[in-house]
Symmetry: C2
Amino acid sequence: MKQEIKVSVDAVVFGYDQESGVSVLLIKRRNEPFQKMWALPGGLVLNGESLDEAVNRELREEAGIDVNYLEQLYTFGSPERDPRNHAISISYFGLVRPQDFQLAAHTDAEDVAWFNIKKLPKLAFDHKKIIDAAIKRLRGKITYEPVGFELLDKEFPFSDLEKLYQTLLDHEIDRRNFKKKIIGLGILEELDETIQRKSGRPARLFKFNKKKYFELKEKGYNFDIFF
Amino acid sequence: MKQEIKVSVDAVVFGYDQESGVSVLLIKRRNEPFQKMWALPGGLVLNGESLDEAVNRELREEAGIDVNYLEQLYTFGSPERDPRNHAISISYFGLVRPQDFQLAAHTDAEDVAWFNIKKLPKLAFDHKKIIDAAIKRLRGKITYEPVGFELLDKEFPFSDLEKLYQTLLDHEIDRRNFKKKIIGLGILEELDETIQRKSGRPARLFKFNKKKYFELKEKGYNFDIFF
DNA sequence: CCAAAAGTGTTCGGCTTACACCCATGA
DNA sequence: TCATGGGTGTAAGCCGAACACTTTTGG
């Protein structure tokens, strides 16, 4: 009997901002099944298209977004996950600076929006499960690789980084120890500029030095950021 | 246009023994393409079958093996990876005690054998790449989770564990520090029995205490085994 | 001058590392 | 008695954790 399995990709794209914390990008489905329900952006892989291409295409089509970090997460293949037919989903994990984009729903998406990861709506298919896996990965990831910078502005005050870690790891961090540790990694560049928030003393801006990071990584340097 | 993508699974199953070190299970392909070439066990997922089921079935059919540890590794989906058509492969990573099984080639496999990971033959498809990814994962994995025990006999002398780590991580380990660390984790049980190797003083046998391990893991205990 | 956030050092304890000699067995 | 592998303790240094007061700005 001929194999009749559909191959699709789905993306869990995270964004972060100071006020609302960590969010996931969702689309509202235009079509059945799960019509009008929120779901992860994604869709069928085209013949001759690589998986990465498919994810990037779907994100552009359905949400108007180009991620700046993307990695494969997990492949879900239980035959019951799609009510229509056996369909596997290769899920991806992405990071983006929400401020960089104007969301725009197209094709299969009737709407697009950011949802705080603590206030998710009911989701289509097994997408809740996929998001849970992605959150777990994100939490793990930031403790051993400096991916957090992909979520912050290019130039950011140190407290933003601190708050990001606190939000993601969900526990208090000692400001002094945190700074010592991160500065000790030698992958940040301190700028002369400062930024003024609503109140309080202005903060020095920092920049992630990607080149330095890759140099150190080459040399087998380790970037554990445990707490 | 209708989607025409084949879905298959492939397994990188590792075995270990004292003399030959770490090996991978390979089969010799009975059919085209890559006929008579060595390849990973695996094959098409059947309609209505989950991915895990598919891997276990293929391993039983092609090699006569039941793994005792299995996890998903990565999904390879470049359209050029199969000369016939667009085919994605969900690859798995497995561990087994080679002594527990009598290899037996069937169906698509003309032969099955263990190959030392440092002496691999030329491989079909992109299977070399898949094995490389699996080795990297294995190396990483044993540093933060006690999966090594799945490769050793149920009861083993401490030096076996030490040699396994040395082989996998490819560097010297101080016997005393290693023992202190592992014993300190509290997941080993020391038995009264000893084993006599070809020469030298007989060695005390140890057993991995899975129950204790899960208990500790529940409590958020961490099992880093860095060097 | 008050509120809000940024900035900054030191001490203590525990973990990691380095390191070398004796023991039990078979040949 | 020799060769082979098994077994064991201690000291030094480094890293992570705990901890509080001062500075700069806007209102």
